[in-house]
């Protein structure tokens, strides 16, 4: 369902505002939706994403909890067992780790363990990733841990519109969603109308953000704007890059990704988290298994280095930037030349 919105209805909004609006609308539509976490009430969250919710819906619906991530998620499990739809905020990526036991041992497998009798319609919002000059423990990209756990959906918006639509879809899902919010895009703006979001996509559909013919950049979350910029810059060098925004890492949209790579014949996966053991390895393997005969070059990855997230003064060297993406795209050509050369 695509609704066209008159340009006048659209105003500049930030991703954080779109997320707030999504929470507000979800709470208004469904009294079982409860927001909980550290500082989400009076303060409105350290990123202000829950701003105004406690005032509008009361402290029982938007609850400042004690400082205990396992406790927050563990009690949310019990609340979900009793028919509520908790939306849990983990304050920062690295502070979600105390909750992993609950996440992995219970949230992810409650449906499976009980043959569908107990479901976990939980959304776990995690601001993640770097690029905001955060000190240690404030910039991790932890998506690989979540992806390694069967039973979790892992979703991450990259646009203002998706921030709204995907969060609504996540809250509406009857299964748990780890909703990764790219914190460096919180203040990114777009002309957006909360009243008529163009489309609330079902979870698990990738979006093609830019059509192109000579290679596909596959990315998500904070790296999307970087890839878009790289695609523009690559034109000068004769590359017409397609950009695929995964939006949801689990479920994974093999169809869109493979159709794109089959068209372009080349693929580069771009993400912030470390390359070794990162999502890029899985994505590259999937593409290789499915598109081998369409590939003109190996699937390459541009990822963060395999290091603990660096201090803020060094993070720009770690994060995949436009130049590193362009260098890698250039290698696609080199790799194909090399492959062809050897074949002759």
């Amino acid at each position: 369902m695509t609704t066209t919105v008159p340009a006048t209805a659209r105003k500049p909004a930030t991703m954080a505002q779109a997320l707030t609006r999504a929470l507000r609308d979800a709470m208004a539509d469904d009294p079982s939706v409860h927001v909980m976490g550290e500082d989400v009430g009076t303060l409105g969250g350290v990123f202000r994403v829950t701003d105004g919710l406690a005032k509008e819906f009361g402290e029982d619906r938007c609850t400042d909890t004690a400082l205990a991530e396992a406790g927050i998620l563990g009690t949310a499990v019990g609340m979900a067992m009793y028919g509520l739809r908790p939306v849990v905020e983990m304050q920062f990526d690295a502070f979600a780790y105390p909750a992993f036991e609950q996440l992995i041992s219970h949230v992810a497998r409650m449906r499976n363990r009980t043959r569908g009798a107990l479901t976990m319609p939980l959304t776990i919002r995690v601001p993640y990733g770097g690029g905001i000059g955060g000190v240690e423990h404030h910039s991790d990209s932890s998506e690989a841990y979540y992806l390694a756990t069967p039973g979790l959906q892992v979703v991450t918006p990259a646009t203002v519109e998706d921030a709204y639509g995907l969060l609504r879809a996540a809250i509406a899902s009857d299964d748990p969603v780890v909703f990764l919010e790219p914190k460096r895009l919180y203040w990114s703006k777009a002309d957006w109308s909360p009243d008529a979001p163009t489309e609330v996509a079902p979870l698990g559909r990738a979006a093609i953000r830019r059509r192109g013919s000579s290679a596909t950049l596959i990315t998500y979350g904070p790296s999307l704007p970087v890839c878009m910029e790289a695609a523009e810059a690559a034109r000068a060098e004769g590359w017409d890059l397609e950009v695929v925004d995964l939006r949801s890492l689990m479920p994974f949209d093999d169809e869109t990704v493979c159709a794109s790579v089959r068209r372009t014949g080349r693929a580069v996966v771009v993400h912030e988290s470390n390359g070794f053991g990162g999502p890029g390895g899985e994505i590259a393997a999937r593409i290789t298994e499915r598109c081998f005969h369409h590939l003109e070059a190996p699937v390459l990855r541009v990822a963060g280095f395999d290091i603990p997230y660096p201090p803020p003064m060094l993070e720009r060297h770690h994060l995949p930037g436009v130049d590193r993406i362009l260098d890698t795209v250039a290698r696609l050509q080199w790799e194909s030349d090399w492959t062809e050369g050897r074949g002759e």
């Binding site: 004690a66 563990g74 499990v77 609340m79 043959r115 069967p150 009857d174």
Partner: protein, 397 residues
């Protein structure tokens, strides 16, 4: 040395010269403190006020529970169960936990608490599914309001708090009773659950069965607290210490705590002092960490024997009653034995059925792969069968 006397403190600055504002504890700790001795009824004058009907009900369940434990342990020897953590010696805690709750309440058991679930009405075979290995959880938790038996220690405690809190938000007078062992009280989830429960004044009762050991590790290596019940005070909830082998005392203390929670009085932490007579599980060797003499002293404090003394004093321990109770327990065991001796039916395709509400394309593909493997396996069997039947014989040169 007070803060103001510390070297380098600005004690001479006039703005800091006054004493700190008078400090008051937020809650008077005195009423929260547990008794010095475990609370007991059996063998005391107070036992006289106990209702005979309750005593016979408890007795029947204790005897059934013990027989169930023995039967389940025997089933491990026959290979019918992968493992069984027996609650022999702890039956009074298990039974009281089940009987203190109303139908609308929820029970959050740990892996050792099969008996509490069965005493609450769960089908004994369904209660053993996890341990038999045909599925992780064999029952619909909504049917008797029993959460899945929980294996990771103490993780069920925050669930109980969340459920109780949610029920209260919805205006339902539902209480959650969560069970944990002494070892489990050292886990972070224990702390977080108690803290949340007290802050929210959630209608939860925490029952710690202190059976002396976490596998082989004795309580002294688990905590330096005067008792586990003392831990409650720090959270701002009452702690109760009770003789876990005294079934009516257990029942009374739990019932009081459940009623208090239902009235909006908030959570209670109960420590039941008991003993695990068998090893941790059938796979454990308890002689490595405790003496026979110790076990014998606890056998002398057996929950069934304690209750029998009270029943006998009331002339309720008649041959008829004892016989009928024993027959009922034998019937339970025979039924369990018979049904557990049938191979459970497992459907491999179930592996994919309950991962997500909507199957992903990846899981659909993997399900198709398994289907094909199963079909090939079945075809192979048919071929094997064909190879041994008469027609194949004739075809030989």
């Amino acid at each position: 040395m007070t803060v103001l006397e510390q070297p380098g403190s600005s004690r001479n600055k006039s703005s800091l010269a006054g004493p700190p504002p008078t400090w008051q504890p937020r809650v008077d700790p005195a009423p929260l403190l547990p008794d010095a001795e475990p609370y007991r009824l059996l063998g005391t004058d107070a036992a006289a006020r106990l209702d005979s009907g309750l005593l016979t009900r408890l007795y029947t369940q204790l005897v059934r529970g013990r027989r169930y434990n023995a039967q389940a342990t025997a089933l491990t020897r026959q290979g019918r169960l992968a493992v069984y953590p027996s609650s022999t010696g702890q039956e009074a805690c298990e039974v009281a936990a089940a009987l203190a709750l109303e139908d609308r309440d929820w029970l959050f058991p740990s892996y050792r608490d099969t008996l509490a679930a069965v005493a609450r009405g769960l089908d004994p075979v369904q209660a053993l599914t996890l341990l038999r290995g045909d599925w992780h959880n064999g029952y619909d938790p909504h049917e008797h309001r029993i959460a899945p038996l929980c294996t990771p220690l103490a993780t069920q405690l925050p669930h109980a708090v969340g459920l109780a809190h949610a029920a209260r938000l919805k205006g339902d007078e539902v209480v959650a009773l969560a069970m944990v062992g002494d070892g489990g009280t050292s886990e972070g989830d224990f702390h977080e659950a108690l803290n949340f429960a007290a802050i929210w004044q959630a209608p939860v009762v925490f029952l710690v069965q202190n059976n002396g050991f976490a596998i082989s590790v004795p309580l002294a290596k688990q905590t330096a607290a005067p008792s586990l019940a003392h831990k409650a005070v720090g959270y701002g909830m009452p702690g109760r210490l009770v003789d876990g082998n005294d079934a009516p005392a257990m029942h009374e203390v739990l019932t009081e705590a459940v009623e208090r929670a239902r009235r909006g009085g908030g959570p209670t932490l109960i420590e039941a002092v008991t003993y695990r007579i068998e090893a941790h599980t059938n796979a454990d060797d308890a002689t490595r960490y405790r003496s026979d003499a110790e076990v014998e002293t606890w056998k002398a404090h057996d929950p069934i024997a304690l209750l029998e003394r009270e029943l006998a004093a009331r002339d309720l321990l008649t041959d008829d009653f004892v016989g009928a109770t024993r027959d009922g327990a034998e019937q339970l065991a025979a039924d369990l034995r018979e049904r557990m001796n049938a191979d459970p039916e497992v459907d491999p395709m179930d592996l994919f059925t309950h991962v997500f509400a909507e199957q992903t394309s990846q899981l659909r593909a993997q399900a198709a792969q398994l289907r094909a493997e199963l079909d090939a396996e079945a075809a192979g069997h048919t071929e094997d069968a064909a190879g041994t039947d008469g027609s194949a014989e004739e075809a030989r040169p």
